[in-house]
């Protein structure tokens, strides 16, 4: 079941931003896998940020003693558009093959972003080569992001526990020179495991 998240408003090879109108319970969700059809390919990414920008007016309303329901609805529905969703590119599909590398071309503006759950999520997370594309982003909450993503991937499987152990082992291999980080990441996985 694919749910439309929003449309691309800004894009580059490594990251892109998507605008969407309102927050719904199922989208956009931090750490979830998403995909954008680009010509014949699909570009995959992880939602690493959901951002609502402030402005002086919202700040002013926020500190009012009494905030009317109509004002809140007005601010949310009419003024705060779009909600900006940050997506980190983690791979693409060409033909039938999923590649955990950066795509040759980024998606273009107003392309539609869909969620990628169930089978699609299981297929993408069958290998762990995309870990590096996530972990290398020291300006993002990369560990949280990956942990959240792995949780969804585990939930999409019947043998989620074994999956998390495998993923943990890959992480142990990648992060063996940074044991503190590794330990933190593994504990995040454990808490779900």
């Amino acid at each position: 079941m694919e749910i439309q998240v929003g449309r691309i408003i800004r894009s580059s090879t490594t990251r892109f931003a998507v605008g969407c109108r309102v927050l719904r319970p199922e989208v956009p969700v931090f750490g979830s896998l998403v995909k954008v059809p680009v010509l014949d390919d699909e570009v995959y990414g992880l939602i690493y940020d959901v951002c609502m920008e402030d402005d002086p007016y919202v700040r002013q309303i926020a500190v009012q003693e009494e905030v009317r329901a109509e004002h809140i609805e007005d601010q949310r529905r009419n003024r705060q558009v779009p909600i900006e969703v940050g997506v980190l590119v983690v791979g693409y599909r060409r033909g039938g093959t999923i590649v955990h590398r950066l795509p040759p071309q980024p998606p273009t503006s107003l392309d539609v972003l869909y969620t990628c759950t169930g089978e699609g999520l299981v297929e993408f997370t069958r290998r762990f080569d995309y870990f590096r594309l996530v972990l290398d982003n020291r300006d993002l909450p990369a560990d949280e992001l990956l942990a959240a993503n792995l949780r969804y991937a585990a939930e999409a499987r019947s043998d989620g526990q074994a999956f998390l152990v495998d993923a943990g082992r890959e992480l142990a291999r990648l992060l063996n020179m940074d044991l503190v980080r590794l330990d933190g990441l593994l504990r995040r996985l454990r808490d779900w495991a």
């Binding site: 009012q64 009317r68 329901a69 109509e70 004002h71 949310r76 009419n78």
Partner: protein, 390 residues
Amino acid sequence: MTLELNKVTPQIDHMGHVLAGRAAHQGKVLPAARALLAAFADRQAELCLVAESEPGQRLRCASPGDERLDVAYAPPALPAEVTIVAADGSQIYPDRHGIAFYYAINTGSIVFRHGSGQAPEVRTEPRLCYADDELYPGGAPVSGDLVSAERTLAEMRALAQVTLAEPPAGPPRVALGDGPLLIWLQRANLPQGRQERILADYLDCLDRLRLGRATVSGFVSRPHSAEVIALLYLAQLKLAARQQVKSLAETDYRGLTDRALFGYLSPGERSALFVRGTAANLDFRDRGHTIHFFYLNTGSDLARVEVPEWVARDPDRLGLAHAAVYDQCRCNNGYPYVLTRADELAVILGEEREALEGMIMQAMARHGLSLPELSRKAQQKQAARWRRRR
């Protein structure tokens, strides 16, 4: 940075001195003015005569209504559900150095359903003006004043249209405009007949609102007018002395405003009703829309609220306007929420204007216009813009 602050420092110091002096002076005359208000509080007939007299007309004195003048009127309760409509406009003035000679008017409107908990409905209506009769009305190039007048009219039209689209059987409707309801069009700067037509259209809108049984008002923030001060000043003078007064600025009451006079109002309270003393009000009076006003403590400031005669004379609708405006101000730092939003909707930001002109450029190029057609200045701007776009 071309304002050399070191050079203005001495002037700033002097300015502070002068302002302090003025405040001190007002502090001295304000009690006198308030005493006058109390003294004339129930001498409405007498004051009407003063306002209608030749000096009264010259100083554009306000006329009192029927209410006692020195009383503060508390707002009545606002109905549980009220529909408040606001509209505002903005424009791109015609620019002879621009990429093309055109102007644009953008109006924004908001329908705020007080008490519903729902998000308001918002709408904008942009209009691009480039036809010959729009750009050269009466043969001369369109002026900024005309564009402003057209914008004012567009705001009123939008206000009337959106308000009247609301069902009469629903919650009471309050239409709130940004600025005075009483518009004053400078005949000299407008082409032949244009002033009359704009005014007529404007008054038509008010007619329709009256017919539709809506309440309409205009919100003037931080008014500088002194129509009540002028009235009181004249009234206390001997008849002969009144003739001598050319302007309030020549008197001890210079710099004193009605806003200061009614400073005693507590939040939510309004002053007594007055009638605007401007000559333009005659045109409104002829159509039964004589513009009245009262001062209102919005919670943090004093504003002037203008209403047409048919609202002023209907206690229910007057109370509705009073309560609705105050309620709008109460949760928005003393300024009506709907007007904040209408302004936000209408305003044309610099970048939006650039985007618009970029599109106009493309359209022109598509239709065979070459770049030399653009003025040199425009070309430079364009170059700068393109760099920014990269």
